[in-house]
């Protein structure tokens, strides 16, 4: 199936954007995968001065509070516990310098990288002597998979499996950002895969409630360039609507089965976001029906919601207030080899993307 267009056609869009100088537009790409794709394709290097792309709170690793990381690291020291996690979480630093899952693993903690929540269930079955804890990170795209795993664990009566849910909803975070008024965002590139689950309706609030031109976009360079083009056009036409560029997979209503499974297992709870703080009803807590599979209850973890002091400016970066190079640690004390903040750890973190791809 053909999914990509001819490079020469892409060039026409590039050419237009490059030469667009009519107004300043600050666009937030909400999704970390967009951040990554933008960086890898060099889109920032072809944007005119007046168009800025800023990274939003859409890297699940970056928004995870250091409090949670510390709790996970502590849990990993329990000799009965085997942590199953997406590779993304391995190097996120806790509040003690040098401590992360990778270094603790190298000192003996049991940590396995999985590709799917279902893999964690298999690990639990194959390691009956361990308590397998799956780290549930991600937004509405990832959470339904975790929900399936929890339901399956219950059905199959798997006793040594639980989920440390740090799943989050995108909307409350975007609303919090827009409501705070600390920052100016003129338009949004909306996360294509979250939209696959939530549907176009899931991001309508950006246009309806906040009057921000918004385009749901795929992840190829031509997707993103098209989205930028469409945002410019909205400004040209002086309208603010939600558009769907990612039509090959995103529908109006989204994936209702996935929504239903997610709602069956999770319920909105207040949650803390790195650098943003507590956002009401922004986290996905595991419902009581599935409390046997809730790591927090199983290990009686007293979740800490205090704002931990950190020198990292990720919070401001996630909020679009500053660019990575404006953090005084950037590329000095903080680098992908020795990351201070999560934005430098995740390959889709804004700081990592900037560090790796744009420090000419």
């Amino acid at each position: 199936m053909q999914l990509k267009i001819n490079p020469s056609e892409v060039k026409d869009i590039v050419e237009f954007i490059k030469n667009y100088d009519k107004r300043k537009i600050k666009i937030m790409e909400v999704c970390g995968t967009h951040t990554m794709s933008i960086a890898k394709s060099g889109i920032k290097t072809i944007l005119p001065e007046n168009i800025k792309l800023i990274s939003g709170p859409g890297c699940p690793v970056c928004v995870t509070a250091i409090n949670r990381i510390d709790e996970i690291l502590t849990l990993s020291q329990n000799p009965k516990v085997l942590i199953a996690t997406f590779g993304d979480m391995l190097k996120v630093p806790g509040s003690r310098q040098g401590f992360n899952l990778a270094t603790l693993k190298s000192m003996g903690a049991k940590v396995e990288v999985v590709y799917s929540a279902m893999d964690a269930i298999s690990i639990a079955e194959n390691n009956p002597d361990f308590e397998v804890v799956f780290l549930g990170i991600g937004f509405e795209t990832t959470a339904p998979g975790t929900a399936v795993a929890i339901k399956e664990a219950k059905e199959r009566n798997i006793k040594n499996f639980s989920v440390f849910s740090m799943h989050k909803f995108v909307e409350p975070a975007l609303r919090a950002l827009l409501d705070s008024k600390e920052i100016e965002i003129d338009a949004f590139i909306c996360p294509g895969h979250v939209s696959t689950i939530l549907g176009i309706k899931g991001f309508r609030f950006l246009a309806d409630d906040y009057k921000k031109p918004s385009v749901i976009s795929g992840f190829e360079p031509e997707d993103i360039l098209t989205a930028i083009y469409k945002i410019i056009m909205q400004f040209e036409k002086n309208i603010a609507i939600i558009e769907n560029e990612y039509m090959r997979i995103v529908t109006l209503e989204g994936n209702e089965f996935a929504q239903r499974i997610m709602e069956d297992v999770f319920e909105p709870v207040d949650d803390i976001w790195r650098g943003i703080g507590i956002i009401p009803k922004s986290g996905m807590g595991i419902k009581d029906t599935y409390c046997d599979f809730d790591t927090v209850k199983r290990f009686d973890i007293k979740l800490d919601f205090k704002d931990k002091l950190t020198i990292c400016k990720c919070g401001d970066i996630i909020k679009g207030k500053i660019e990575p190079k404006e953090c005084s640690l950037f590329a000095k004390l903080c680098s992908p080899e020795n990351p201070i903040g999560p934005c430098m750890v995740s390959s889709e973190g804004a700081c990592a993307a900037y560090y790796k791809y744009l420090r000419f």
């Binding site: 490079p7 890898k40 889109i43 920032k44 997406f86 360079p221 360039l225 889709e348």
Partner: protein, 333 residues
């Protein structure tokens, strides 16, 4: 019971001898090794190249090869990259107790066949056995000696306007091994490119000092090797993303796992910097070899970004291509 390696095989006594005499010597029959001395006494010639590598690949049997083939190719290729013709190899095993002798025989067999293919003699060796749980089946070290053919490959000779050439698709080995190891895939056609670079290198040797430097981009992949070429120099490399040959299935596997083929290891490729004048001819010559059919000019040396490798993307953007920072891991984000 299936025959397995026990600690006794590493004790230096009778079992060690029987391992050497029954499994190793018959496969590496040559007078230097048969002496079973503390080392081999060899004919040498003028200047020599000397290289070492330990091989710890998991799984030790993987699509396209095994740790034995890899261990021979790895050192043979490093010697070639120095401008030398490989001649002698040492072979040292660290075996975990419980390792199947049948597996050892298979590995030894592939070492022996690869060595023959490379025209290299295995002249001295060693075998250690470590306790269960203190290894990963088998680790192999090979060290090699080659006789110098072309001297002076060095980054100091890189110059503005030179071109970057790769002899084939990049990323195959790393992706094939990662897939075989992590079991995320049910089945693939991915295969390691593990092979001796002898013919490719000999073709390149013909261009003498018109070739400035070459290297086999193993761990860290193409991106890391290119960085090593220019770091600390006055020059940068501009790499044209669309010109870098990557097999479609490698590309897809990388997309699925969220890893980057430019950082994925190669075990049968050369990346080199050559003067522009001979670049086309050299690529043509390389393409005439079956293992060089996907060779391509993938970039050039400039003075624009001192010490950096800059990737030109298909949409006309550019970005820095750093050295690898930390092992590549499958990601969901």
């Amino acid at each position: 019971m299936e025959e397995i390696i026990t600690l006794d095989y590493g004790s230096g006594g009778k079992k060690t001898s029987s391992l050497i005499e029954e499994i190793l010597l018959p496969k590496f029959d040559n007078s230097k090794l048969n002496e079973l001395m503390d080392g081999a006494v060899l004919k040498s010639k003028g200047r020599i190249a000397f290289s070492t590598d330990s091989f710890v690949v998991s799984p030790y049997f993987f699509p396209g090869g095994d740790i034995g083939k890899l261990a021979v190719c790895g050192t043979v290729n490093d010697l070639l990259m120095c401008g030398a013709i490989p001649r002698y190899l040492s072979l040292s095993f660290i075996i975990e107790e419980g390792f199947k002798i049948e597996h050892l025989k298979k590995i030894v067999n592939s070492i022996s066949e690869t060595a023959k293919e490379c025209g290299i003699e295995i002249v001295t060796g060693d075998t250690k056995v470590v306790e269960k749980g203190k290894g990963d089946g088998i680790y192999i070290n090979t060290s090699g000696i080659g006789f110098m053919e072309i001297e002076g490959y060095a980054k100091a000779r890189i110059n503005d306007g030179d071109v970057v050439i790769v002899t084939g698709n990049v990323g195959d080995h790393g992706v094939a091994v990662m897939s075989a190891r992590n079991g995320f895939f049910l089945d693939t056609d991915l295969k390691s490119d593990c092979m001796p670079l002898t013919n490719l290198a000999k073709t390149i040797f013909k261009y003498g000092r018109e070739v400035k430097i070459m290297r086999d981009p193993t761990r860290g992949g193409l991106a890391t090797t290119l960085n090593e070429f220019v770091e600390g120099t006055e020059f940068s490399i501009e790499l044209i993303e669309k010109d870098v040959p990557i097999a479609q299935n490698v590309f897809t596997a990388c997309e699925i796992l969220g890893i980057d083929p430019l950082y994925s290891a190669n075990e049968g490729k050369i990346v080199l910097i050559a003067s522009k004048d001979i670049a086309e001819d050299l690529v043509k010559d390389i393409k005439n070899l079956p293992e060089g059919k996907n060779a391509a000019i993938i970039g050039k040396v400039t003075s624009n970004h001192k010490g950096l490798v800059v990737l030109k993307t298909p949409i006309g953007g550019s970005r820095i291509l750093n050295k690898l920072t930390g092992a590549q891991l499958p990601r969901i984000c």
